[in-house]
Symmetry: C2
DNA sequence: CTAATTATTTAGCAAGCGCTACAAATCGCA
DNA sequence: TGCGATTTGTAGCGCTTGCTAAATAATTAG
């Protein structure tokens, strides 16, 4: 086997710029100014390339934007998903995620707020708007999955509507992104996170005496969950 | 006194269109598509006037936008301020306001979400962005004032940070606006409102036995409040 | 009536937009 | 060295943008 051995240098003149670095610079500009507020001239200046290089490497403005959002969201996922997965309880998972969001949204060396949450919300391009809404729905789905896990593990009151709770914390994240864009400090955002955590459903008096370790949903309430009809559910697409 | 008797018909050719109706049509377009996503051609088509009429009546695109926002916010104020003022408690005031917001943001015959909250959040024009942030800060100030009144009237635990609580519910409103724009139904939004109200500070075990009437802050805790330093406060500009 | 004033219509300007044709430059391969 | 392949910088295309000059229409004042 020696066909696909090395990366196999392509044939013609090699690209003279770092594609990913240029994409990151583009992301910054889009993040700060939005899709419609950013011109190709803005982008080429920030990316330090000329228009033909941009179009050769990224297609057109819309595809560049979508790739920038994908890059951004991937980075956030890498930072936040472990927080969700590794926290011992769903409550702590959400709380840590919100605290981390408060830090990220008010970072001094980056545009304020969340690029994904602020993207294409008042945008003429309908196709963009729906694609971004879908990405936001994916983020909510991650919250919902963690909450459902907590529900299975008995941390939450029976009958808790995981979708509605996920909707609530998704709303918090979106609101925080806007607040940050309007100038809220990290301290402000943290205070809001603390308020938001007061909305977490109270456990049912009993249980939760064991501090942490318990991991597996042992004994009763096995993996096969009861699949309660959940009256009319939340904004589920899954 | 017969100087300013009648409205005093102006001198030249009278305007051939209803200025306020045109402004409302412009508001709709801006609300749906945002500032940068709306062209003068979009506006003149919706307003059913030609560009020179637009410029004669409204100045330029930016001033027309600001006037549209002002008109929009004034309308919201007229609907929502009475709810805040007339509710017997601060808690009910906020709760009713949020429920009304849930209704307004998901109205079928209007653009989804709140024009003010979604305006110029990812916008190139810095001056617009700051003016809109200021308007949003005014809305928060109304929440804060009502919460402070509740605090004076003894409904809330001593030491409650009214600014932080106002920040929290302002965050909820902004998040709901985005959720609505992403397609959340009124039912979804109402569920989020109910979750948000769980974050309301619990009264201090005592008190709150009298169901409602009490109005004046009688007896102790008079008008002169203690003016506690409130460690580092919230995002106050007032 | 005439003159002055304001609104409307038509037509289009200058600038910026997203995007691309073109030729020179730089590569792998023969 | 020459050839095909690919990227690069220059220059600019066609179109849309926000906005306006100029002529005409409709009104009041004298």
């Amino acid at each position: 086997m020696k066909s696909t051995d090395a990366p196999a240098r392509p044939r013609g003149r090699p690209r003279g710029f770092d594609r990913d670095a240029a994409l990151e610079r583009a992301t910054r500009v889009f993040w700060r100014q939005g899709y419609e507020g950013t011109s190709i001239a803005d982008l080429t200046r920030a990316m330090r390339i000329n228009p033909p290089s941009l179009y050769a490497a990224f297609g057109d403005k819309e595809r560049l934007y979508l790739e920038a959002v994908e890059r951004y969201q991937q980075g956030r996922r890498d930072e936040l998903a472990p927080l969700l997965d590794q926290a011992p309880t769903a409550r702590q998972a959400i709380e840590r995620l919100l605290h981390e969001a408060a830090r990220l949204y008010a970072q001094p060396d980056a545009p304020r707020g969340c690029m994904l949450m602020l993207s294409g919300t008042a945008c003429g391009e309908a196709s963009l708007q729906s694609q971004l809404a879908k990405r936001r729905a994916d983020a909510r789905k991650a919250l919902k999955a963690r909450i459902e896990r907590g529900l299975r593990e008995g941390e939450l009151p029976r009958g808790t509507d995981a979708g509605a709770l996920a909707d609530f914390y998704a709303t918090i994240l979106k609101g925080m992104a806007l607040q940050a864009r309007d100038g809220a400090s990290r301290r402000n955002l943290v205070a809001t996170v603390e308020a938001a955590m007061r909305a977490w459903p109270a456990p049912h008096e009993s249980a939760v005496k064991t501090r942490s370790v318990m991991s597996a949903p042992r004994g009763r309430s096995s993996q096969r969950i009861r699949r309660s009809p959940e009256r009319h559910s939340s904004s589920d697409g899954d």
